[in-house]
């Protein structure tokens, strides 16, 4: 799909600000679009989703470095917080997902990007934050009846924790919960190594996998 062809002109400045990682400009644009009467949903679908689609296309050719991606993630977070100060209303949700950065990892911008992509796609997302023990992930998956768990890891010390997730879910009878891992430290590993369903190349890749699985379960 040629994402550029679907860009609405009035959304161009927002998309550009997001991709440049300029969160002040992105916020200003978001406010302007809200003031002229556009709904939060429209801003997400015509702005955030398109920006993320374009970032996705660029990410696959590896022309973005970590800093640029983090800056975009920050700008997207700021816009979502502006649009939904109370969080995304659950009734619009297409399913529940857990995102977390596991115990020991101090970086959660990667996780925040996945969260934004998933929210942008209309899922209910429970964010367990960073430095999160595996047991907390399992408890949350059970309590929230989550369909999937997405784990991000930027540093390689996290790999052993990631490997424990599936077994811990199973021990609570949560065999059907999908486990997706992504992030700098994890993406060079294969799914069987980590005992997960999918090792995502980036946040978009992870979100695509989730969509595909939802597609299989609810045809």
């Amino acid at each position: 799909m040629d994402a550029a062809s679907t860009v609405r002109d009035d959304f161009r400045p927002l998309i550009e600000a997001l991709l440049a990682g300029d969160h002040a400009a992105a916020l200003a644009e978001t406010r302007r679009l809200s003031q002229i009467g556009l709904s939060a949903e429209t801003i997400v679908t015509a702005g955030l989703e398109i920006a993320m689609q374009q970032l996705d296309d660029k990410c696959t050719v590896e022309s973005f470095n970590l800093l640029e991606i983090m800056l975009v993630g920050r700008a997207v977070s700021a816009v979502v917080r502006e649009l939904y100060p109370e969080g995304v209303p659950p009734d619009k949700s297409r399913g529940t997902l857990i995102v977390a950065t596991l115990e020991g990892d101090v970086h959660d911008l990667g996780k925040n990007i996945v969260k934004m992509v998933l929210i942008g796609k209309g899922y209910r997302v429970i964010d367990l934050g960073r430095d999160c023990p595996v047991d907390t992930v399992v408890a949350a998956a059970e309590r929230e009846a989550a369909s999937g768990v997405l784990i991000s890891g930027l540093i390689s010390t996290i790999v052993p924790q990631v490997r424990r997730v599936r077994a811990a879910l199973r021990a609570h009878g949560l065999d059907a919960v999908w486990v997706v891992a992504g992030g700098a430290a994890l993406k060079q590993l294969v799914a069987t190594d980590l005992d997960v369903d999918c090792v995502a190349e980036n946040a978009f890749d992870g979100a695509r996998y989730i969509e595909q699985r939802f597609g299989e379960t609810k045809p």
């Binding site: 022309s63 983090m70 430095d131």
Partner: protein, 531 residues
């Protein structure tokens, strides 16, 4: 610097050297070593070379003893007896077999002179030697000392062969969850120490049976893998701020395998805890961090980087993953700071870049300091943006050094940015925890071989070091190796290590609330700023 032309097996190589050491010492740092079997005092007569050009210094008594009239007339000399000060050309007529063990690029593992050889001697050998080992993730260094006099006799430096199981500590720790691989990792490290001992004793004519104490420092992962004990604990976050026991349990069999004295004491200096190893303690001993001006910061740049902050009252330490960018330069064009590494890049008038190579004329790649220089130069001329993007939107910078061509990718710069950010965030976290503003620092000790060749101005320009007067910044070299030597010979050093151990507080960066912001700030290639 004077030039040294070396003709070996029909190939000519051009090195540069700093006058001071003997020709043999200069060659020992390069890939072109001569045979030898003595400490270089003219006893073995093996280090023969033919002088082809350059100033002729008078024949020394050892040369007259070992060389025939015909040889002398033919320009044959003993490399250990010549101390060149000007350009020289020589032919290696008795080259040593290529080996992974070299003299370190500069005499880095010298125990601080203030720490005397006052440790009680180990029994069993009269006039014993000791070996100080710094077992790093990438390199291993070993120095042999006379335990009685405290003199350093010789040292060796080579690669840690565990690298084939993974470049970083965590990959190796994970591999070691398979018992077979744990055995293989332990064997690789032990065997490397044995090889270094063999190379140094054979080439320097030292009796290995006189080695009666071996003191090893290293990061926690390296020590547990060497001891083949408790390496599994490091994979559990609960142990990242806890003590990890990695004492050698079977020293006698190690001593036998190394061919050293059967009564040798084998000491693995215990780590501080978590990923903060005894290499940091050794570094802090070398720099006497808690006895100098405060507040003082100590940064050991490496694959596993360790940082300490001494406030004058408290000692805060942490470890952070640096990645290989510092020790081995950037991915595709990187190389360790050894012979053949581009270690310095400067701009000549007119904007052309000038590359300087360590101990060789053929560039193998950029080492960490060369990478910092090149990135700083590219930023200054506007080819690179502070975000790490090329100004022209491109993905690489191609350059050539002599006949060798290299490519610096955006991804290589990203690796440097990440490594820099991990350390920058670590520094900020320690300073914030202790309430010390960056600008208040009175001393910054930069350790690691990478730091040895670092250009302070360039390092500050990209935000690798705090913006402080250059006089506050010390490039201390391999302080872990020097500290291992101090701990080997000196009781005072051992006592200081105990003091450090009792004062140090391990900081878990995961618990620093602003870590993300600090990390993001330090991804930028720009001078470090106070938050």
């Amino acid at each position: 610097m004077p030039k040294l032309d070396v003709l070996v097996r029909g190939n000519r190589h051009c090195l540069t050297f700093q006058p001071g050491p003997s020709l043999r010492e200069i060659l020992d740092r390069s890939d072109y070593r001569v045979r030898s079997a003595c400490l270089g005092h003219g006893a073995c007569g093996l280090c023969r070379i033919r002088q082809l050009a350059g100033d002729e210094c008078p024949r020394q008594p050892a040369e007259l003893l070992h060389l025939s009239k015909a040889q002398l007339a033919d320009g044959i000399r003993l490399a250990c007896q010549i101390y060149p000060t000007t350009d020289l050309a020589v032919e290696l007529i008795n080259p040593a077999a290529p080996s992974g063990w070299h003299t370190p690029p500069a005499g880095l593992s010298v125990a601080p002179p203030s720490l005397a050889a006052d440790r009680p001697l180990p029994g069993g050998v009269c006039h014993p030697y000791g070996a100080a080992v710094d077992l790093g993730t990438t390199h291993l260094s070993l120095a042999v000392y006379d335990l009685l006099s405290g003199h350093r006799l010789a040292e060796r430096w080579g690669k840690n062969p565990q690298a084939r199981f993974g470049a970083d500590v965590v990959t190796r720790l994970m591999a070691a969850t398979e018992p077979d691989i744990a055995q293989a990792l332990a064997f690789a490290a032990r065997n490397a120490i044995g090889e270094a001992i063999e190379d140094v004793t054979l080439r320097e004519g030292l009796d290995p049976q006189r080695i009666n104490r071996v003191t090893v420092v290293g990061n926690t992962a390296m020590l547990t893998l060497l001891a083949a004990r408790n390496h599994d604990l490091l994979l559990k976050p609960a142990y990242w701020t806890a003590a990890v026991d990695c004492a050698a349990t079977d020293g006698a069999s190690w001593a036998a395998a190394w061919g050293i004295s059967g009564s040798a004491e084998i000491e693995l200096m215990p780590p501080l805890g978590g990923f903060v190893g005894s290499d940091l303690i050794a570094g802090l001993v070398t720099s006497a961090l808690i006895d100098g001006p405060a507040p003082a910061l100590f940064i050991d740049f490496g694959t596993n980087s360790e940082i300490a902050l001494w406030t004058g009252d408290e000692l805060l330490v942490t470890a952070t993953a640096g990645g290989p960018a510092f020790e081995s330069g950037a991915g595709s064009c990187g190389t360790p700071a050894e012979a053949g590494a581009v270690f310095r890049v400067t701009e000549a008038p007119g904007g052309t870049l000038v590359y300087r190579i360590l101990d060789d004329d053929r560039a193998k790649g950029l080492c960490g300091s060369g990478l910092v220089d090149l990135v700083a130069c590219l930023l200054r001329v506007g080819r690179l943006e502070p975000t790490g993007k090329f100004a022209d939107g491109g993905k690489l910078f191609a350059f050539s050094v002599g006949e060798q061509e290299f490519v610096l990718n955006k991804r290589d710069i990203d690796a440097l940015q990440r490594a820099k950010a991990a350390i920058g965030a670590g520094i900020v976290a320690l300073c914030a925890t202790a309430g010390v503003p960056l600008a208040a620092l009175k001393r910054v000790v930069v350790a690691g071989l990478f730091g040895r060749y670092l250009d302070i101005g360039n390092a500050q320009a990209i935000g690798l070091l705090p913006l402080l007067p250059a006089a506050y910044i010390e490039l201390a070299g391999n302080t872990a190796a020097a500290g291992a030597a101090a701990l080997l010979i000196s009781r005072q050093a051992q006592e200081m290590a105990e003091r450090l151990r009792s004062r140090a507080q391990l900081i878990n960066l995961a618990h620093y609330p602003n870590f993300d912001d600090a990390f993001l700030d330090h991804l930028y290639l720009r001078p470090m700023q106070e938050n």
